[in-house]
């Protein structure tokens, strides 16, 4: 791991990886979509609407996973003071927010099919909504701090505390919905799911994961480039103005 922690090495490595990752992502999306839309059976209970699962569930999985990733990277940055970990955490946030929005939109459309209403205060959907607020909080803080050196310190803290908060949110929302007992039709995905549905689901999950990695590397590269450009501009100023160099 530490080999790639050097920003320059990371930049060169990701330069090579991005095209490969991009093509694999496209491949996985193509095969996954073919399976999800044409080559998988309709559910015996939900009929064709079960196809909503193949985008909703991967997006929902990754919405939590990306936050865990952000918090892990923040922890790494906090302990070992590594700037690259900060960049990875910060650039993952927008992707996480987009995935969470996808999970919410598809979940709400699925809800229309299953419950007949676009929004029901179901435990799963509600905790995804609160997770979206968590992402928005992170992005708002990032936005308001601009690129001050203190920004990454504060963002680390928010990501770490946010991670601790996720199980509390899940638990409390679960408790709250059993208090009012709405119907729950998006059933929990146990091991009992049939192979013919599991294959497209896993393919789509892999595609979502690869897409996340591709975008993350691209965004982190952009940040590294911007940092380099600023450093160069500073150097130029010093050359123009000798009094600053001394």
């Amino acid at each position: 791991m530490t080999r790639f922690a050097n920003p320059k090495k990371f930049y060169n490595l990701s330069q090579k990886l991005i095209p490969i990752l991009g093509i694999t992502t496209l491949l996985f999306f193509a095969i996954g979509l073919y399976f999800a839309l044409f080559h998988s059976p309709a559910d015996y209970q939900q009929g064709e609407s079960v196809r909503m699962m193949y985008i909703h569930v991967p997006a929902a999985w990754f919405s939590t996973l990306i936050f865990v990733f952000m918090a892990t990277m923040s922890g790494v940055a906090f302990v070992w003071r590594h700037p690259l970990a900060d960049l990875l955490a910060q650039e993952a946030a927008l992707i996480g927010a987009i995935y969470t929005s996808i999970a919410l939109i598809t979940g709400s459309l699925w809800g229309k099919l299953a419950w007949g209403a676009y929004w029901v205060w179901d435990a799963r959907l509600t905790s995804v909504l609160i997770l979206l607020f968590l992402y928005i909080a992170y992005l708002a803080l990032k936005q308001s701090m601009q690129d001050k050196p203190i920004a990454s310190k504060m963002l680390r803290l928010l990501a770490l505390i946010g991670l601790l908060n996720i199980p509390i949110i899940k638990g409390s929302v679960q408790w709250w919905t059993t208090l009012h007992q709405p119907p729950s039709i998006i059933r929990s995905l146990g091991i009992s799911i049939h192979m013919s549905m599991l294959i497209p689901l896993l393919l789509m999950a892999a595609a979502f994961g690869l897409f996340f990695l591709t975008i993350l590397l691209m965004r982190t590269q952009t940040r590294l480039l911007n940092i380099k450009t600023i450093a160069l501009l500073k150097k130029q100023d010093q050359l123009d103005d000798p009094s600053l160099a001394a």
């Binding site: 839309l37 009929g47 064709e48 609407s49 196809r51 909503m52 985008i55 909703h56 997006a59 927008l94 992707i95 987009i98 929005s101 996808i102 939109i105 598809t106 459309l109 699925w110 229309k112 099919l113 897409f211 975008i215 691209m218 965004r219 590269q221 952009t222 480039l225 911007n226 380099k228 450009t229 160069l232 501009l233 150097k235 130029q236 050359l239």
Partner: protein, 44 residues
């Protein structure tokens, strides 16, 4: 609304968001690369 309409709406919104993100990221990276090249050229 019917199943196919809602399903296609879900898939469409999903992929519009994803391609939007990809496009924005690509554009930003392109701009950063151009700016970096310009600045490093000037320095030489």
């Amino acid at each position: 609304m019917t199943h196919p309409l809602l399903l296609s709406l879900a898939y469409a919104s999903c992929f519009i968001l994803l391609t939007g993100l990809l496009f924005k990221t690509y554009k930003k990276r392109r701009e950063a690369q151009k700016k970096f090249e310009n600045v490093s050229k000037k320095l030489k």
